[in-house]
Amino acid sequence: MVRNERCTKCHICQRQCPYGVHQRIVDSDTGAVHIVADDAKCVNCQRCVAMCPMRALKIVKSNCSYRENAYWSQKAVMEIHRQAEQGGVLLSGMGNPEDYPIYFDRILLNASQVTNPPIDPLREPMETKVFLGSKPQTIVRDHTGRISCQLPPQITVAMPIMFSAMSYGSISLNAHLSLAQAAQELGIMYNTGEGGLHESLYQYGKHTIVQVASGRFGVHPDYLRNSAAIEIKMGQGAKPGIGGHLPGAKIGPEIARTRMIPEGTDAISPAPHHDIYSIEDLRQLVFSLKEATDYTKPIIVKIAAVHNVAAIASGIARSGADIIAIDGFRGGTGAAPTRIRDHVGIPIELAIASVDQRLREEGLRDSVSLVVGGGIRSSADIVKAIALGADCVYIGTAALVALGCHLCRSCHLGKCAWGIATQDPELVKRLDPEVGYKRLVNLIRAWQHEIKEIMGGMGINAIESLRGNRLMLRGIGLNDRELSILGIKHAGE
């Protein structure tokens, strides 16, 4: 923590820091005021830096480090020290930050030149509306010969972007409210996550995907009916194969009511759904939920991108699901065991490519839509994901960043200085939903503009013509195996 001479010792930093880094000390002899910082407590959330009216603060990397070792990094050594001290599983917040290949950054987009014209989105319609759901390729006509327009339930989104599952509990009610309002204004969906739906948010039902997870928290008939779609959460990119644990300390009266559990008890989501030990069990849950909602809601099955994701997805497509959601290994979380988060799962880019291809090979691509998430950072990532074969993307981390998150990755501490991943009423207040939802709307509108620009450059004026259009992509610096999995050519080919 570096504090320069502009500091007026107003100690706003002290009041803003939930981690107790800054402290105002008055010298009892001289009466002089000092502000000191305990660097060891700093999580680098940037709250004090942003709030300092004098711009007097700067957080810099400390050069106090262990002896350099190319194999035993300081992080590895420090983690051993922590575990040796406490004997626990290491926990982390947000997505996998490690240095794995980022395929999105190794893919380049195409544009029209000469043989077909680019389209100017400011002059011509540029369509981004997407329908998600099963689309059987059969034509039924009534006695007059008119095509019958009956379809299995669908969700309609104005652009191929939805807010991914983040539970009330893992994030604050103000964060949820911001997401819900933004989804309504944008004509898209947000997702309750596994923490149930707070009563005050029922009014946004048409833009809500309600989740049914292994803990079944907050699941009741009204919850299911008050939705645009129902998502069965089988897995999450940040922690495939792992359940969830919201500590009792966070279970205040509102969360307890919403989750339908006693106040102060730990909310533990088991690793498996205990009624789903195989694919045939999943089919039963899919149809139980359809029965419960009179076949009026599409059912999403969400899985983490793991090694055999393509085979799993094709099994899900045969199990009555209308939509498959796949979460890549960069996907965020409120808390996950560090080792799981950083070492389990595969990049979403590869998962999209292999799932889309497998579903096509098996003739199943029309029976399910594909929503992908886990590391979408920009409109360019979205365009690439759709061209690889996705119908729509989920964004979680990016939405939280729009709400103020600076990716300090300390959500698991529950003291989010930005009022997002916390239940502390004083901290929650910091996120004004009126401001939050406008920031989300701004972000998604900006991305929509960018998507339209990119589409126009490609000579495409409807987003459906981008889906699975892998000729619009080229790899850069990828080997043959990677290119063949992604189903794209190398730049220059």
């Binding site: 319609p125 095509i147 004026n461 409807a462 459906e464 889906r467 259009n469 000729l471």
Partner: protein
Amino acid sequence: MKREGQIRIPSGCAIAGVIDKSGKVFNGEIIIRSIAAMHERSNGLGGGFAAYGIYPQYHDAYALHIFYDHETAKFNCEEYLKRFFDIVHQGEIPTRSIKEITDAPLIWRYFVHPLPSKLSMSELDETEYVARCVFEVNTRIDGAYIFSSGKNMGIFKGVGYPEDIGRFYRLEEYEGYCFTAHGRYPTNTPGWWGGAHPFGLLNYSVVHNGEISSYDTNRRTLEMYGYPCTLQTDTEVITYIIDYLHRKLGLEFPEIAAVIAPPFWQTIERMPSAEQEYHTYLRNVFSSLLVNGPFSILIGFAGGIAALNDRLKLRSLTVGEKGSRVYFASEEAAIRIVEPDLSRVWAPKGGEPVVVLWGDA
């Protein structure tokens, strides 16, 4: 140099078509003159024609037009055909040797009926049986390529300017009720006759001017439906979309137009609710078959012709009418040259199909 199918080759083009609604036949002279007027829109690297009603003596048989690269291909292909078809008649397609056309492959024609025993064993309907045999030959038999497979119709195409290709095939000796033509302007030189247009499957033939930006979306969808796309050309993909929607799903041509060049959402929102529902349904269910980017196409089929532009009308297409004849061309000049005195001439709007059936007169 990679040949068509191993590489995707963008091209510009000229297209033309003429139909007599009364079903009265006329010879290929007119269509040659029409397409020749647009000489500048081709570059001598591909031209061709589709002609309907030209084989009345074998109107019930599938007319297979086949290019062979060598005698072995012919031998292998004929062995294959004998196993699946009863060949009623076969022979070389008559050509005239002219100095403008060189490097022609062996060009043969077979009039065939599916072998009844094989057909019933396959449990396919007849058209599907024939289509699968065509795919089989084109993907499995090296050096053989079936480029026309309809009944009472034929495609004639090759590498050269279209008017030269017409003279090469002695098109003036054929009489039909409908002809389409194509002159190609590819960006590089494949020099393979199979890569020229029209592209056909069963009775469908397509001539197309444009470069579609939805190509890979359309191709990957069609491959899922069992259409191996071997040529990497837009025309191939459009032909298969039409075969899928018309023959397999039974959509009518105006419905097909609403799938491949649908109205914009902002237009749909202004429609009465029944129409809104209809267009929303088609756009949703067949979203992967929307053809995006510039195109003008003429679709020949048994008994008629359909013309369609992309939804933004990024390619020219003019229609002219005189008596029972309807003319189509990339440029009005190509219509005026064969019929200066038109009773009506217009440029159809983007996404607005013009469908002409014989018997409409």
